[in-house]
């Protein structure tokens, strides 16, 4: 179990696999919804070239566009703000956990950038730079992903709860950095669990819809 928390290849692979799985399932969920709606539509769905709305025909793209508009649901300001913050913190916690100290990747870690890492603002600079990059992705998650799902209150709570959970993970990872080269397995374990539990919570709406669709 100890080696599981310290296995960088496993951890990074699992993190990326969950993300890729979420992206793929989200695409399948949208496609499944479209097919169901198209099957029940009175208008005849044809290829884009044959589309003629006057003749009772509608193109696939047009139908998909209309369906997406119909499906979009506002999730609420607090949820959206928390979701964006949680996704940004997810990437920051991931970087702190795996790439802060030489413990997991001795040749690829933040302390190789010695000029910044040697300063008193090193931890902050590292986290802020990761946040800046992750902002590009996180900003569109509520609109492009969560807006197409009916997210239950419990799931929303879970997504919003990811923010403090990720804060704990970051705190523990920084603590591991301050005591390096000593190690603290409980901190490492809890930070790992907090990181992946948060990722699971943030992706749960997609996975849950996919499971429902399968049933």
């Amino acid at each position: 179990m100890t080696s599981l928390f310290l296995n960088g290849i496993f951890g990074v692979g699992l993190f990326l696999l969950l993300l890729a799985g979420g992206a793929a399932l989200h695409r399948l969920n949208i496609e499944r919804t479209y097919r169901r709606v198209a099957a029940t539509s009175k208008a005849k769905v044809v290829d884009n070239r044959e589309a003629n709305s006057n003749g009772g025909k509608i193109s696939k793209d047009k139908l998909k566009e209309e369906i997406m508009e119909e499906m979009f649901t506002r999730q609420g300001s607090n949820f959206n703000a928390c979701a964006v913050a949680a996704w940004m913190l997810l990437f920051a916690a991931f970087a702190y956990f795996y790439f802060l100290t030489p413990e997991i990747f001795p040749r690829h870690n933040y302390f190789q950038v010695s000029a910044v890492a040697s300063g008193p603002l090193g931890f902050g600079a590292f986290g802020l730079s990761v946040l800046l990059f992750s902002l590009v992705v996180a900003a569109f998650i509520p609109e492009k992903v969560y807006g197409y799902y009916e997210i239950s209150r419990g799931t929303k709570v879970a997504v919003m709860f990811a923010v403090p959970l990720l804060a704990v993970s970051i705190f523990l990872s920084v603590n591991l950095g301050t005591i390096y080269p000593e190690t603290d397995l409980p901190s490492r374990s809890f930070a790992f669990l907090a990181l992946f539990a948060s990722e699971a919570a943030l992706l749960w709406p997609v996975y849950a819809d996919a499971l429902g669709g399968m049933r």
Binding site: F111, S114, S118, P120, F123, G124, G177
Partner: protein, 480 residues
């Protein structure tokens, strides 16, 4: 008719000798001719039993001849004509055929090639007609007008020919006729020979030049030369930094593929690249040439502190070349300062990378003002890093130079470090730096602040707040 007269005179002269043949014996040659004081014609007479016996004495005869030559030169010349019988070879006699035999067939030769050249001689005359043959090998090198004789004379007696072929050979083996040649080009060989009747040269005796297989009336070869080369990697001056009276050795290796001796001249230049000395050695190809400065007296005390350079010119007598200019030696200046007790100590025993370290060096500097002392540290992450410079002035007292600084960063954590000082004057070891001194290991801890420190907490809070603010701003900007 003349021959007949000469025969009669000889008979008359030797008749008494024939009569007393039993009593005549050659007497040893004397250094000066003497007169017997007896009868003319070199004969002496004695009476024995009423008979007059004429005894021919060679010394008396020679004496008479000289007397006749003086007294009546005209008659003496006439007598000579009467006695002269020119040798006429038999009518069936033919001069031998002589050719140069060069079996190696190598058309291009160098000065050091050892050549094997033979005279092939065929003499078809009957053995009773043959005469001795005397031979010389002659060669003419590039640029030479005349042939010169090579080696020693060879002789073939009448009975030294093969009975089957009537031929024989004489050799000039392992000859190096052009070893001192100063030119390259055509090299020509011929044979001079004399058969007791006449003198011949193989290059002119035949109506047209003969060449078949390895046999030549005149042998023409091409004398070539490969220029010597220098092994650039072998050029060195050792030691590169030295005192003026050290045994500084200039070494280099030159190779001449022809095996020629190489004349090597070392040219030493001062710091203005002006030649100040040169010296020449002649070395065998492939051997190291060594010039030891102290043996030749290249450098004196006044050269201390100067930088020199050098190059070589080299040649084999036909081709010459030169090397590039190489720097060295750097002659050490006379000591100006005395240094001792270099030391490094961390602020505390933890030896963290973020701590200050105190480096010190004791310097006695009686004469140099503005003496620069640089501190360098080395770790695997930051090799040979200059940390700081201290400038001191001359003083009769020993000065302690201090550097109190934080020389490392986080990438040095867990590594060993070393340090050394460099200074702008020569120390007592004729050096301008101390040796590299080990400073020990740096603590592997990488973060200066504990988790509960305000700095760490502030860093974490900054990240969390940035994420929350980012979420709120995004929501307000894009989702309303």
């Amino acid at each position: 008719m003349k021959r007949l007269a000469a025969c009669i005179i000889i008979i008359l002269l030797f008749l008494p000798l024939a009569a007393q043949a039993q009593g005549v014996s050659p007497s040893p040659p004397k250094s000066t001719p003497s007169s017997s004081g007896g009868s003319s014609g070199g004969e002496s007479s004695s009476s024995s039993g009423g008979r007059r016996v004429v005894q021919l004495d060679l010394d008396s005869m020679v004496g008479n001849m000289e007397k006749w030559k003086q007294d009546d030169p005209t008659k003496f010349e006439y007598l000579k004509k009467l006695l002269h019988i020119p040798f006429v070879p038999p009518k069936e006699y033919a001069p031998p055929t002589v050719l140069v035999w060069y079996p190696s067939g190598k058309g291009e030769i160098t000065r050091n090639d050892k050549l094997d050249i033979y005279a092939w001689v065929k003499n078809d005359n009957p053995i009773e007609v043959r005469s001795d043959v005397y031979l010389w090998l002659e060669a003419k090198g590039p640029g030479e007008e005349e042939f010169t004789r090579i080696g020693s004379q060879r002789v073939i007696l009448a009975n030294e020919y093969s009975e089957k072929t009537n031929a024989t050979v004489r050799d000039w083996s392992s000859i190096t006729p052009f070893i001192d040649s100063q030119e390259v080009g055509n090299a020509t060989f011929r044979i001079w020979f004399n058969d007791m009747h006449n003198t011949y040269f193989t290059d002119t005796m035949y109506a047209k030049p003969y060449q078949q297989d390895d046999y030549y009336s005149v042998l023409r070869l091409d004398l070539i030369n490969s220029p010597p080369k220098v092994d650039e990697d072998s050029i060195r001056v050792n030691p590169f930094r030295a005192r003026y009276n050290d045994p500084i050795r200039y070494e280099a290796r030159f190779v001449d593929t022809d095996g020629d001796a190489v004349s090597v001249t070392l040219h030493i230049l001062d710091d203005q690249e002006k030649e100040v000395w040169n010296w020449t050695q002649i070395v065998r190809s492939g051997t190291n040439v060594t010039f030891i400065a102290s043996e030749y007296g290249f450098f004196g005390e006044e050269d201390a502190g100067k930088n020199f350079s050098y190059f070589y010119t080299f040649g084999d007598g036909l081709n010459s070349n030169r090397t590039a200019i190489h720097s060295g030696p750097r002659l050490l200046a006379s000591p100006k300062i005395f240094v001792s007790d270099p030391d490094a100590s961390p602020a505390d025993e933890n030896r963290y990378w973020w701590q200050n370290y105190r480096f010190s060096l004791k310097v006695k500097n009686p004469e140099v003002n503005n003496l620069r002392i640089d501190l360098y540290t080395s770790t695997p992450s930051h090799p040979n890093r200059r940390q700081d410079t201290v400038v001191i002035n001359a003083s009769e007292e020993v000065q302690e130079v201090l550097f109190d600084l934080a020389p490392f960063d986080v990438s040095d954590a867990g590594q060993s470090f070393s340090y050394h000082f460099r200074y702008s004057a020569t120390d007592q070891n004729s050096r301008e730096e101390t040796g590299v001194i080990s400073g020990g290991a740096i603590n592997p801890k990488i973060v200066k602040y504990p988790i509960y420190s305000a700095v760490t907490v502030a860093n974490i809070l900054a990240v969390l707040l940035a994420a929350l603010v980012g979420g709120i701003v995004i929501e307000r900007r894009f989702y309303r």
